[in-house]
Amino acid sequence: MNQSKQKTGFMTNKKNNQFVTRIASYGILLTMTFLIIVPVLWMISTSLKSEDAIWDTPIEIIPSEPTLHNFKNLWSTHPFLQYLENSLIVVCSSTLISVAISTFAGYGISRFKFRGRGMYMSFLLATQLFPSIMLLIPYYKIFMTLGLIDNITALVITYVSFTIPFCTWMMRGYFAGISKDLDQAASIDGAGRIRVFTSVILPIAWPGVAATAIYAFIAGWNEYLFAMAFINTDTHKTVSLGIGQLIGEYRILWGELMAGALYALIPMAVIFIFFNRYLVSGLSAGAVKE
């Protein structure tokens, strides 16, 4: 085999290949970016147009007379501030409850051997397969009995039930990545199990807790079906439900709808800007570690 000849041929080939790969990569990335950015800009553009400007031909991509009319109007025609308040109450409480419970459970599963542990873990994974809609009808009846229909407490309970399994799974993955030696060192010093957990492990696990909380928050903030089934009164609606139902009104005001969509995006934008790095690290810890 003539090795030197083979090698030079291989080098130019490799360069060519690299060039082609690079062009193809950027081609795909730019196409995807276009498909993502255009709808976002279109949403912003529409929200800044007056009702008349939306129906202008030819369509204006950048509004010539931008106005905040839609943003203000939404506050006066719908109890939008109330929607935001409801959403925040429901989602913050459900996130708090579910993160607290699943942090404990995740620690317990990752550290202690107890009977039923394996079954418990399989059950947590299996809940991801349960169609959430399967809970819709029993929940409806249970909340009816408890007098919680049209009450946002019903949504808190529902969202806790959705998020505990996934959050527990994520926290378990995170704790599994923290060395058990730390626990042992602290226990030798005479600290009890709970003390070891709260004063030694929890402070280190903080990024994992943050990531888990973000997931629970996003899940609750986005939920629509159960809110639609359980809430009737306008002033009890969440943001997701409120803007979703604008479309059912007799005349669709796209400007106001897009303004509403932008309001719903505010917390997501905050999460994205400030907690971006937790999202990926939390996911890699929780989802990948076996």
Partner: protein, 293 residues
């Protein structure tokens, strides 16, 4: 001595994991069992409770409309999951290369994941709108169509439109999972392969894919479960129409329960979905495990 330790271990386990187990029992196990009970009842959930046994199940397995709804749902889920997996994996591989601006693209590509489903549904409904919608406008200005078409209102395009939007919303989570999975593949394997003359495709085929197999399995199972029961985007964009073309099973269950007040039948439908998902995930794990052996 040993057993005292084990005893303390397991007591600690119960203390930590107990509250979550109680919550899961009260919020998931009990309601599911109750749901199965409701599926055997002719009921209005208030004062009418009549045991009808397997009546609704028998009704459903001989109902061609329910089967066509299941077919629609299966096709919808299959297309969305396939789209998400292919696009998500492809993009993860691309942004994982050390190329300029990779981080910038990572951020942009993640955006749809953060968009609430309601917002996604509404934006695209507006873009697809036959009246002054952006897509019609663009197609017309490039002379691709002559008159406005109601993409979501026509029987042959509505389904494709909905699938497209759900992939738009759904691929980033797959991309994130794959990116996380690729962090666990040792870089040396690629270096060794590239010294041996393996090209990008061969590296992808023989290092990346086998390295990602466990996370691909998890992603496919979760994705199938998520999209098989999907509701919000379709509900907002088409409401299941036109002529039932986009009526997936979650919409059918919702309408059966809250429009027809046929709670027993709706509950029976959800039990059937559960069984389908369990079987599907069992088959998946078998197939993917065999392949890796």
């Amino acid at each position: 001595m040993r057993s005292a330790f084990a005893k303390r271990e397991s007591r600690s386990g119960y203390i930590f994991a107990g509250p979550a187990a109680l919550f899961m029992f009260a919020l998931v196990v009990y309601p599911m069992a109750y749901g199965i009970f409701i599926s055997t009842q002719k009921t209005n959930l208030i004062d009418e409770w009549e045991f009808v046994g397997a009546k609704y199940y028998l009704q459903l397995i001989s109902d061609s409309e329910f089967f066509s709804t299941l077919g629609t749902t299966g096709l919808f889920a299959a297309l969305v999951v396939a789209g998400n997996m292919i696009i998500g994996l492809l993009l993860a591989v691309i942004v994982n290369q050390k190329i300029p601006l990779a981080n910038f693209f990572k951020v942009i590509l993640m955006l749809p994941w953060l968009f609430p489903e309601t917002v996604v549904g509404l934006i695209w409904k507006w873009i697809f709108s036959p009246l002054f919608g952006l897509l019609n406008h663009a197609l017309m200005s490039f002379n691709l169509i002559e008159t406005e078409t109601d993409i979501l209102g026509r029987e042959n395009t509505a389904f494709a439109g909905v699938v497209f939007v759900c992939i738009w919303k759904g691929y980033p989570i797959v991309m994130l999972m794959m990116m996380a999975g690729m962090k666990n593949i040792p870089q040396e394997r690629y270096e060794a392969a590239s010294i041996d003359g393996a090209n990008k495709w061969q590296q992808f085929r023989h290092i990346t894919i086998p390295g990602l197999r466990p996370i691909i399995l998890v992603a496919v199972i979760l994705e199938t479960a998520w999209w098989f029961k999907h509701f919000t985007i379709i509900w907002l964009m088409t409401g299941g129409g036109p002529a039932g073309r986009t009526e997936v099973v979650s919409i059918e269950i919702y309408l059966q329960a809250f429009t027809n007040f046929n709670f027993g039948r709706a509950a029976a439908e959800s039990v059937i979905i559960l069984l389908i998902l369990l079987v599907a995930s069992f088959i998946y794990s078998r197939v993917l495990r065999d392949e890796s052996e």
